[in-house]
């Protein structure tokens, strides 16, 4: 379904995140005249039009519908990114609480999370913040009752079906179970984010002593 989203944008609703990022990628690869940007969400793409093109929204909507109809899903497709994580302790202040909510031990939570390969479904919230999904039922917990005003950069968190990594020190309501030494966003680099929609994320548990030995910047960025 394609409908106006303000006078200068269309919202294209799709089956799910694979279709959303595939459409956004397709519009990036093979642009449609009058489309300024395509921003994937969980099950939709916000298609922003250059303002004069708003007058052609109907025609552009038809072009987008054709594009959706002939869309090839890029399942997998992205890069594989391995994220080293120190779980628990000072770096994962909510690990024990989160395990208690799930009714499992902290070790079991670490084992389950570390073994779960996730995909970057879309980005948002903050520069370089990738929504990673989907977590299995056994790892889904609600957000914190009271959000933190400061969550350290690199914090690995979970909420509902998603996991995410804070790319900077930010306020946040997701339970933090670990932390990566890797830098995820650097405005001086091109591209500025280490993770992009479609990438696959694997976790590499490291111990607390390994934190300071790790490079801050991944060598495949």
């Amino acid at each position: 379904m394609i409908q106006p989203f303000g006078e200068h944008a269309l919202l294209v609703e799709l089956e799910g995140p694979d279709a959303a990022r595939s459409l956004a990628a397709s519009l990036e690869r093979d642009p449609v005249d009058g489309v300024e940007a395509a921003i994937p969400g969980l099950g939709s793409v916000l298609v922003e039009l250059t303002p004069p093109a708003g007058d052609r929204a109907g025609e552009l909507g038809a072009q987008l519908a054709d594009r959706v109809a002939s869309l090839t899903l890029h399942e997998g497709g992205g890069r594989v990114r391995t994220i080293p994580v120190v779980y628990g302790g000072a770096h994962g202040p909510d690990l024990d609480r989160t395990a208690a909510v799930l009714g499992i031990s902290a070790d079991e939570l670490v084992a389950r999370h570390a073994a779960t390969e996730l995909q970057v479904l879309f980005c948002g919230f903050a520069p370089g913040f990738a929504y990673l999904g989907e977590l299995p039922q056994g790892l889904r917990v609600p957000r914190l009752d009271t959000p933190r005003t400061r969550t350290p950069s690199g914090s690995v968190a979970v909420a509902g079906p998603m996991s995410g990594i804070y790319p900077a020190e930010l306020p946040g309501g997701w339970p933090v179970i670990g932390r990566t030494p890797l830098l995820l966003f650097d405005a001086r680099r091109d591209p500025p984010a280490y993770l992009a929609p479609g990438d696959t994320v694997r976790w590499e548990p490291i111990d607390h002593d390994g934190w300071s030995d790790r490079p801050r910047t991944a060598d495949d960025w």
Partner: protein, 312 residues
Amino acid sequence: MSIEVLDGGALTSVQDPLGRRAWRHLGVPVGGAADPWSARLANRLAGNPDGAALLEMTLTGASLQFQRAATVSLAGGLEATVDGLPFPVESARRIRAGAVIRLTDGPGARGYLAVSGGIDVPTVLGSRSTELRTGFGGHEGRALRRGDRLVVGPAKGPAMRRSDARGTPAGPIRVVPGPGADDRLASIVGRAFTVGASADRVGVRLEDSVGGGGEVDSMGLPLGAVQLPPDGRPIVMLADRPVTGGYRVTAVVIGADIGRVAQLRPGDAVEFASASIGEARTAWRRAEQELAALEPLAEREGDELGWTGSHS
């Protein structure tokens, strides 16, 4: 040429009217001037291209000293003085070397001060705007403070003037329905809201609950999206909004009125009115025509250009 910041005011930052548009798929917000139309007006009055960097000031404004003579323009909701004399809003003036320009509170929340040549800061990810939350772009990725020095680029074009005095925009803020929200649009139209204390560059939060809020699958948020979080208090999203959001979007403020939302101050009253997409586009074209109708600040108006604002 440089400008020294004597006082940063409540929140003064380097912004450009267009923002950072190319990296949203990686979570980078658009940013840029919160009232883009006023920022573009300030740039055009100063003879700058639309995308030149300028200063956005909030509520109380800043004080700046100009090392050399410069052509300066002012637009938006704050007022200003040059060496203590009033600086007329929506105009460009030549000010003398050593002059101090001070922005003070006015009818709106944000004032734009442009300098002919633009504020010369590095372009980061396609924009000179400051991303205040994570700290990059603009001047060292942060708000300006006492002692900062800003460099001005070379002037590009002649200063301009408005031939028509702009009437104070009045009446409700116009909205079009959000995706699948026709039933909920009615809940925000035709009633008064009060602007909350936490109105900022991310969004203007309103204090009154209309109910009907909740979470949805995260989606890209256009400028002006009116979100209804679970508490039912509408939030109108502005320049620094996150790229995606997971609350219901009940409406979208039309492009021609988004600057008026950015000018709302905490405690102000605001109302919404329903508009069609066609009306929104017509209003947008009118706003563009107003910007296109500026005239060069001609030689014969030398007294205007030569005005220095110095004490008698």
